[in-house]
């Protein structure tokens, strides 16, 4: 297991993922536990407003973080705790932001929908559906202009593929042949609406045909499969072969946001997906490979629990955002 010190540095947290499969398991658990904890904090009345958690989608976040570098750029959505944690932001920093505390990654002024850290290339997560896609294209444009080998990733949902900004972003990236990856977390719903009622195609990858763009569909519950797919896209991007649209088929176990009980789901659907939980699948694989024992998995799980307990306490101990902070960063100097 990794050192506490390393764990305290977002960049180190990120780098460890690429080299160590066990760390990928740990960190999927971390995401799950932090999001469960966020829901608790809301349930306890310690936070108002809303939050969008991603239980069930952890493999995509971890694969993304493992396949890219801290110097790459990611534009993610309001359902961003998982990606933020995977890219390296510490649990207390995510929890603190959700709680509006100064320890939060933006000092508690942004909240659950807006997580960021320039050190690991995470732009403030986007609360307006589709808005992050052209912004990621802009980051890719920067890499192309500076002729470095950076890659920019836009992470978004299935529902976001119906908004104009998505389309404009993909066309622009294709026309300019930019090092961009469009990573769709197709979790079958946009808010309460099943994809079929809002989206004229079932396979999001079909949308790449409109831009002569490379595209791949992948099982979003299999972290290794997602990792390999993203790595292919990253290679394409870094080598100047242009953008890729990736569709990861996945599922969120919980409702769209805090207040959603998800009663619109057909019976049995949730259970089917739970049976292919990405954390359990990966743990089983590591055990089967001999990289971990069943007991080892339990130890990791307990350790993560303990870490998140501490992180939550740390976050709760941090003071709330202050009045001077409200005024501090409206305009850059």
């Amino acid at each position: 297991m990794s050192q506490p010190d390393a764990k305290n540095d977002p960049v180190q947290r990120r780098l460890e993922l690429s080299s160590n499969p066990v760390s990928r398991l740990e960190r999927m658990m971390e995401i799950r536990l932090v999001e469960d904890r966020i829901q608790d904090l809301f349930a306890q009345g310690l936070v108002s407003g809303t939050t969008h958690t991603s239980q069930g989608q952890e493999a995509v976040a971890i694969a993304l973080a493992s396949a890219t570098r801290p110097t790459d750029v990611v534009c993610c959505t309001y359902r961003g705790h998982g990606v933020a944690l995977a890219l390296g932001i510490k649990p207390e920093s995510v929890l603190g932001e959700v709680l509006g505390r100064q320890i939060g990654c933006m000092g508690g002024l942004g909240g659950s929908m807006h997580l960021s850290d320039p050190d690991i290339g995470l732009l403030p997560t986007f609360a307006i559906v589709g808005a992050g896609t052209p912004v990621a294209v802009g980051a890719a444009l920067q890499f192309a202009t500076n002729q470095t080998d950076g890659v920019a990733v836009s992470v978004f949902g299935d529902g976001a593929t119906n908004i104009g900004g998505f389309h404009e972003g993909l066309n622009l990236a294709a026309v300019w042949n930019l090092p961009a990856i469009f990573l769709c977390e197709n979790n079958l719903y946009g808010e309460y609406s099943p994809i079929a009622t809002t989206t004229a195609v079932t396979d999001i990858t079909k949308r790449a045909l409109a831009y002569d763009m490379a595209a791949e569909t992948v099982d979003g519950q299999d972290v290794d499969a997602v990792l390999a797919t993203i790595e292919r896209a990253v290679d394409r991007a870094r080598s100047g072969a242009g953008p890729t649209l990736i569709e990861a088929k996945t599922y969120r176990y919980v409702g769209h946001s805090r207040s959603d009980k998800a009663t619109y789901r057909p019976e049995g659907e949730l259970e089917q997906w739970l049976a292919r939980d990405p954390i359990e699948l990966f743990a089983a694989k590591l055990v089967a490979n001999g990289e971990l024992t069943e007991e080892g998995v339990q130890t990791i799980r307990q350790h993560q629990h303990d870490l998140i307990d501490v992180a939550a306490q740390t976050a709760l101990a941090s003071p709330p955002g202050s009045i001077p902070q409200m005024f501090a960063h409206v305009l850059a100097p």
């Binding site: 936070v47 108002s48 407003g49 809303t50 509006g100 508690g108 002024l109 942004g110 909240g111 659950s112 929908m113 807006h114 609360a127 307006i128 559906v129 589709g130 808005a131 529902g159 976001a160 119906n162 908004i163 104009g164 900004g165 946009g190 808010e191 309460y192 609406s193 009622t197 809002t198 989206t199 619109y264 709330p320 955002g321 202050s322 009045i323 001077p324 902070q325 409200m326 005024f327 409206v330």
Partner: protein, 330 residues
């Protein structure tokens, strides 16, 4: 308030088969804020539809449907989302009547939830009247509770122009008795005096209506509290008449100081009633910052009744505009 809105829409749908409803999750899920409960069941899938996340697509569709004979009522879940479809509102819907020499009409309604106070962060908490204010061809109204929401919504659906109605999100859950029916329809462009008073006119809108009322109730001064209700057109006569009586105007706004709707009222009233004013018009607003996250800070953002009470007292005492609380930080 959400029930009053639902009822207003249902009452109009009942009377006029041209009225249709669409927006994100307004049909099967009955609205993210439960403002369309029962509409799909009552009026069926031809008249009540869920849309993709395509604000330009469905607001544009409302324009086309309105111009060809329907009366669409659409929902923008949070007013900020109008930003991705702004062109359809201010450049298409608003101008089509003019651009057709008066031959096409665009009878559509855009309902949008607005405002701070619920912890949604700076991209989901603004009121943004300023985006639309001044657009020729558009009407704009703001609900302040169940009663005004009912009356304004029905008036908006009957109007032959594009009308935007802003609904303070924090009031959806509040209950107030509403007497449904024609008599409760509120003519767009009319303000309402909610409390009479002699010393100062306190002009409020949306979520600040209750702030103004609360302030006036416990104050040493006698405030005439008005709910402006409509911003386009706005009730110039009622406001100026009141100011002529009281000699003072205080405007309580939820938005930032710069560019808020109160600048429109203040500059007009000062031009037209300059000699009636015993003191400058005072705008009580939020500071020029994004709406902060974190409940304590967010509550600080919105002017509180106590703050209004103090500021008005200072205005009346000194006949000059007192500095806002945030002056020291700005």
């Amino acid at each position: 308030m959400n029930q009053a809105i639902t009822r207003a829409i249902a009452d109009e749908m009942e009377q006029d088969p041209r009225v249709i409803v669409f927006g994100e999750d307004v049909a099967v899920a009955e609205g993210p804020f439960k403002t369309s409960e029962g509409l799909l069941a009552t009026f069926g899938p031809l008249r009540v539809r869920d849309t993709p996340i395509s604000e330009t697509g469905f607001l544009g569709a409302a324009v086309g449907a309105a111009m060809t004979g329907l009366r669409p009522v659409t929902e923008i879940m949070f007013i900020e989302f109008m930003g991705v479809a702004f062109d359809q509102v201010v450049t298409e819907a608003a101008l089509m009547h003019y651009l057709s020499g008066g031959r096409f009409e665009v009878p559509m309604v855009i309902r949008a939830s607005v405002g701070s106070g619920l912890g949604f962060g700076c991209q989901h908490s603004q009121t943004l009247e300023r985006w639309m204010l001044g657009t020729p061809g558009l009407k704009l109204a703001v609900a302040s509770g169940a009663r005004s929401a009912y009356g304004l919504t029905r008036a908006a659906i009957r109007d032959n122009n594009p009308v935007v109605i802003l609904e303070p999100r924090s009031l959806y859950g509040e209950r107030e008795d509403v007497d449904p029916g024609e008599q409760s329809i509120i003519e767009l462009g009319t303000a309402e005096i909610l409390r009479e008073g002699a010393d100062v006119t306190v002009l409020t809108l949306g979520q600040t209506v209750r702030v103004g009322l609360e302030a006036a109730e416990s104050a040493s001064w006698s405030g005439e509290v008005m709910d402006l209700r409509s911003l386009m057109p706005w009730d110039k006569k009622a406001v100026i008449d009141s100011v002529r009586r009281t000699g003072h105007l205080v405007i309580v706004e939820e938005n930032q100081y710069t560019g808020g709707w109160g600048t429109e009222i203040a500059s007009h009233v000062m031009a037209k009633a300059f000699s009636d004013l015993q003191a400058p018009v005072l705008r009580i607003t939020a500071p020029d910052v994004p709406v902060p996250y974190g409940l304590a800070l967010e509550q600080r953002f919105l002017p509180s009744p106590e703050y209004v009470t103090e500021q008005v007292a200072a205005l009346l005492a000194t006949k000059t505009a007192p500095e806002p609380w945030w002056e020291e930080f700005a």
